[in-house]
């Protein structure tokens, strides 16, 4: 009753609002300071794409150094200036700045803001049947905080002392002492400022996603009928809300240590010819605070991608997702466990070994829900009728990366094995596959799948296929060889391996990886062309191009602010009624009541027909009030 009440008032209010809006829309309110969740989603997407390009280019520069250590890079001087040494090489400190910024940009700006920001914003109201986010204004603030944070981070790339260069994990004392590395001067200050703004953006967004999912679901859209995308976005937002403040506190304490002479993380340091006065601080404390966000962050990045994949695979395999409840359960279980495994990043930091044992136990437990997800994806494909849309290809690719990268986590989660593998290329291979590439593929799958809803046009499928195959093969060529390099003990973040005979045997393989990385980045330009070309000249989309069940395809092809011109549709069934026996077509949208599909209803669904009319009556009652 109560819920119905809220919905009706919300509807009338929004309708009025919409009319008001239509009269006053101009360029600034439509494209810049927009309150429309769809436009804000697109703003996040475009900004994310720009960042992905910058992050990718940075990685190519340091791959040049690793793959071709003797190469003359004088031709980069017009762009990089003094970062190219007199000998035509990349400066060793700039190399560290490159890996640091590549990590920061990819993890936070592309895979957190670009992925969650885009699809949570775009899909939550459309898939739960809401006019907009709970607070359009906060949503706008969320984007603009992200934008300012981006600008600050971008500026840090161009300052004379260089951007932050202590690794994306910014462990103090390195990140606290400008004497230790140039990047810990102004570059680090800008990094911390940018991240503080980013966290504000992320919290504003997260609170909005949570509120919207809890309060603004349409009539009949119970939690058990939510698409898995929404479950993933919802839980992701909860994880972010609980963990980002901890990073904020770590950043704040680090700012104190850097600028106000406190000693939270500093102790017993002799550097640059003098002993610093700081005593009693603990660098390990920072690592605990950092990874309390840092590990959940992995799932903040990954869960939305898995949510998107679940939706895309079910739609294109024309089968219900196998084990819907287990999928939701595993998301919840992963979310809870993600908060109690952080110290597996710290087995060899000098932390008490007993803690190491506990965290090893908890870490390996998290493999169970992850395994369940993989098996469920496989079972969904089994006996399907698969349409290989570009989104579907990227989703299958994601599952492959999730398997290959996830399994190596079992090595690294085992503290005894981690002793040798910690901070080697094995780790680089592991997280680039399971977190980087898998999430990136989720992002691409999402763009290909929901592009028709975003721009009312289709992306070119053939270019999508070429893009997929080049990227899929390319990613494996880049990251698979790194396992071998890691098993051989090569440490990460090394500017060069020429000092070591033992570490100097893989120059061929490193060259191979670098060439593959350049080709893979090159293939992304096919996507960029396809994206922008199709935005204007793509084939016009039909209302439901993928014959999907979820609510967003019941909106007009180009939905206005408010999404549905009339009443928000009512939801009667779960989103995965694909290929139901007896049904006329191989999909039944969520808005079709069971009373209209007697031929395909399961016994318990026939019982629900009575309730459908009941709930309709409730709405009528409220309307009369």
């Amino acid at each position: 009753m109560a819920i119905a009440d809220i919905h009706v008032t919300e509807e009338t209010h929004s309708d009025g609002h919409e009319h008001h809006e239509e009269h006053h829309e101009n360029f600034w309110t439509t494209y810049v300071f927009t309150l429309d969740h769809k436009m804000i989603g697109k703003q996040f997407l475009i900004t994310g794409i720009v960042w992905a390009l910058i992050g990718g280019l940075l990685s190519v520069i340091f791959r040049l150094q690793l793959g071709f250590p003797d190469m003359q890079l004088e031709w980069l001087r017009p762009i990089l200036g003094e970062w190219i040494t007199a000998e035509g090489k990349i400066d060793a400190e700039f190399y560290l700045a490159l890996v640091t910024m590549h990590g920061t940009i990819m993890v936070f700006f592309v895979l957190t803001a670009g992925l969650s920001g885009t699809f949570s914003n775009f899909l939550i109201p459309l898939q739960i049947g809401a006019r907009d986010m709970a607070s359009g204004f906060m949503n706008m603030l969320s984007y603009w905080f992200f934008f300012v944070s981006s600008v600050v981070m971008l500026i840090s790339l161009f300052i004379e002392t260089g951007p932050a260069s202590g690794g994306w994990v910014i462990y103090p004392p390195l990140s606290a002492l400008p004497q230790a590395v140039n990047g810990s001067g102004l570059g680090m200050t800008l990094w911390l400022t940018s991240m503080a703004l980013f966290i504000v953006s992320s919290l504003l967004g997260g609170i909005n996603y949570i509120t919207t999912v809890i309060n603004l679901r349409t009539q009949g859209m119970s939690f058990s009928k939510l698409p898995l995308t929404i479950w993933a976005f919802f839980i992701t937002a909860v994880i972010g809300l609980l963990s980002f403040p901890v990073l904020f506190s770590a950043a704040l304490l680090l700012i104190f240590d850097r600028s106000f002479g406190t000693s939270f993380f500093l102790s017993d340091i002799y550097i640059g010819g003098e002993a610093l006065p700081n005593q009693g601080g603990s660098p390990i404390l920072f690592q605990h605070l950092f990874w309390f966000l840092g590990h959940p962050e992995v799932y903040i990045v990954l869960l939305p991608a898995l949510g998107i994949t679940s939706e895309v695979i079910a739609t294109n395999a024309r089968k219900p997702i196998f084990g819907y409840k287990a999928m939701v359960g595993s998301i919840l279980f992963i979310a809870i466990l993600s908060f109690i495994v952080w110290a597996h990043h710290m087995f060899v930091t000098g932390m008490n070994p007993f803690l190491g044992s506990i965290f090893m136990l908890l870490t390996l437990i998290i493999a169970v829900p992850s395994a369940v997800k993989v098996f469920n994806y496989l079972a969904t494909l089994w006996k399907g009728n698969i349409r290989f849309t570009p989104a579907m290809l990227f989703s299958i690719g994601l599952v492959s990366f999730f398997i290959s990268g996830g399994l190596t986590g079992i090595f690294l989660g085992n503290s005894a094995i981690d002793i040798q593998l910690h901070d080697t290329y094995f780790v680089v291979a592991h997280f680039h596959l399971v977190m980087g590439s898998a999430s990136f593929f989720g992002l691409l799958a999402g763009v290909y799948h929901w592009f028709p809803k975003m721009y009312g046009r289709m992306m070119d499928a053939k270019l999508g296929y070429i893009h997929f195959w080049l990227t899929f093969v390319g990613v494996y060529m880049v990251f698979f060889p790194m396992h071998y390099i890691g098993i051989a003990g090569y440490p990460r973040r090394y500017y060069s391996f020429t000092n070591f005979d033992t570490f100097n045997t893989f120059s061929d393989l490193n060259m191979f990886v670098s060439i593959a990385a350049i080709l893979t980045l090159g293939a992304q330009f096919i996507f960029l062309f396809n994206f922008f070309y199709s935005m204007y000249r793509g084939r016009k989309a039909s209302a439901n191009p993928w014959q999907s069940n979820t609510l967003e395809w019941t909106t007009p092809i180009n939905p206005g602010h408010g999404n549905w011109p009339g009443k928000i549709p009512t939801v009667y069934r779960w989103p995965y009624d694909y290929s139901k026996p007896g049904a006329k077509e191989d999909f039944i949208p969520q808005t079709v009541p069971f009373s209209e599909t007697p031929e395909s209803n399961l016994p318990h669904e026939n019982e629900l027909i009575k309730l459908e009319t009941d709930s309709d009556q409730k709405v009528v009652v409220v309307d009369e009030k």
Binding site: L266, I269, L378, S400, P491
Partner: protein, 355 residues
């Protein structure tokens, strides 16, 4: 000129590609294939998954087999054998899962590609199977956890009382090692505020134990005897990594850490095993520490126990090399310091008397 040609070439290529793209779109419109649910592309993509499956696994097996010796490091410590066994056990278990799941993924994609007139199987859940594939991974992981835990507990247990104690300190950008000295076999106290350009370790010269401590330019350890590394850092985080010994532990300023291991192969033995007379063990850094992170290398030599004792006895003490610092030694200990450091020849009786 050359650059102009390259730019023109690239432009031409892009124009050709764009034209091809336009033609293929027009063809697909004419054929009406953009109206169909699945076209030939669907078959092509399905088949490509099989091509990828065979191709990728082909490369995987070929490389893993042929280059096995290149990417596996020989092991030279007691616990290293244990962790290597764990590594390869885990590799076997995960390798099987890796193969099966990837094969199923690509094979299902190929086998169940769209066919006109076929309907997918409506199969939303099966509790028995779901419970099965939750419980089985849980059991397998439990097995891995417990073998791992046992090894971890052994590795991190207390070192034995007669272990050879060596201090290693990371600083930008090198390692320093300090030995407790042959006369008292105990490391002297240190204080970071006493560090200066010469007294790199910040040795506290009011502590009698420091007089015979010595800092060689390379690390030596005895074969077959437990070594306890006492690890510290002077400026930022570093991480002691001995790849051949499977040893890794962060060096943290303000918080000393430690790691114990037992070398099982001397440098000479490893040289003959690898058939490489140039081979040397080394220590390196695995925690990003600034510009010179990649260059923090120190030579490590594993001696036969007798050679090791001989080497130790030959090393001059730090105080002997830096006699200026005698002024920092308290008046009462001057004599002792001179004898222990070897500045003044003194036999053991003299030493005992002054103690």
């Amino acid at each position: 000129m050359f650059q102009v040609i390259i730019i023109l070439g690239v432009l031409l290529l892009l124009i050709i590609l764009y034209t091809l793209f336009r033609i293929s779109r027009l063809v697909s419109v004419v054929k009406g294939s953009d109206k169909k649910v699945a076209t030939t592309s669907n078959k092509v993509n399905g088949s490509l998954f099989m091509v990828f499956l065979f191709g990728a696994f082909g490369f995987f097996f070929w490389y893993s087999w042929v280059y096995f010796d290149d990417y596996t490091l020989p092991v030279a410590s007691e616990h290293g054998v244990v962790t290597d066994t764990l590594f390869w056990t885990t590799m076997a278990v995960t390798g099987i899962v890796f193969l099966i799941t990837n094969i199923l993924l690509f094979w299902f994609s190929y086998k169940y590609q769209h066919k006109e007139g076929r309907t997918a199987l409506f199969y939303p859940d099966n509790h028995k199977i779901e419970i099965l594939w939750t419980v089985v991974p849980a059991l397998v992981l439990t097995g891995l956890v417990f073998t791992g835990l046992r090894a971890w507990n052994d590795i991190t247990s207390e070192a034995s009382a007669d272990a050879e104690v060596i201090e290693i300190m990371g600083y930008q950008f090198a390692w320093g090692v300090r030995y407790p000295g042959v006369k008292d076999n105990a490391l002297g106290e240190y204080n970071y505020q006493m560090i200066d350009a010469v007294n790199q370790f910040g040795m506290d010269l009011s502590d009698k134990n420091s007089y015979d401590d010595f800092m060689p330019i390379e690390m030596h350890v005895p074969k077959g005897k437990e070594v306890l590394l006492k690890i510290r850092a002077r400026d930022v985080l570093h991480s002691v990594f001995l790849p051949h010994f499977r040893v890794k532990m962060d060096a943290v300023p303000g918080m000393p850490t430690h790691f114990k291991f037992l070398p099982t192969k001397s440098t000479a033995e490893m040289r003959s095993e690898l058939e490489d007379p140039e081979f040397d063990y080394f220590i390196t850094c695995t925690e990003i520490c600034g510009r010179g992170h990649f260059s923090m290398k120190m030579k490590l030599v594993v001696d036969e126990p007798a050679d090791y004792e001989k080497w130790k006895a030959e090393q001059p003490t730090w105080l002997k090399l830096n006699p200026d610092y005698l002024t920092k030694v308290p008046e009462a200990n001057q004599e002792l310091a001179k004898i222990k450091s070897g500045l003044v020849e003194g036999d053991d009786n003299n030493l005992k008397a002054s103690l």
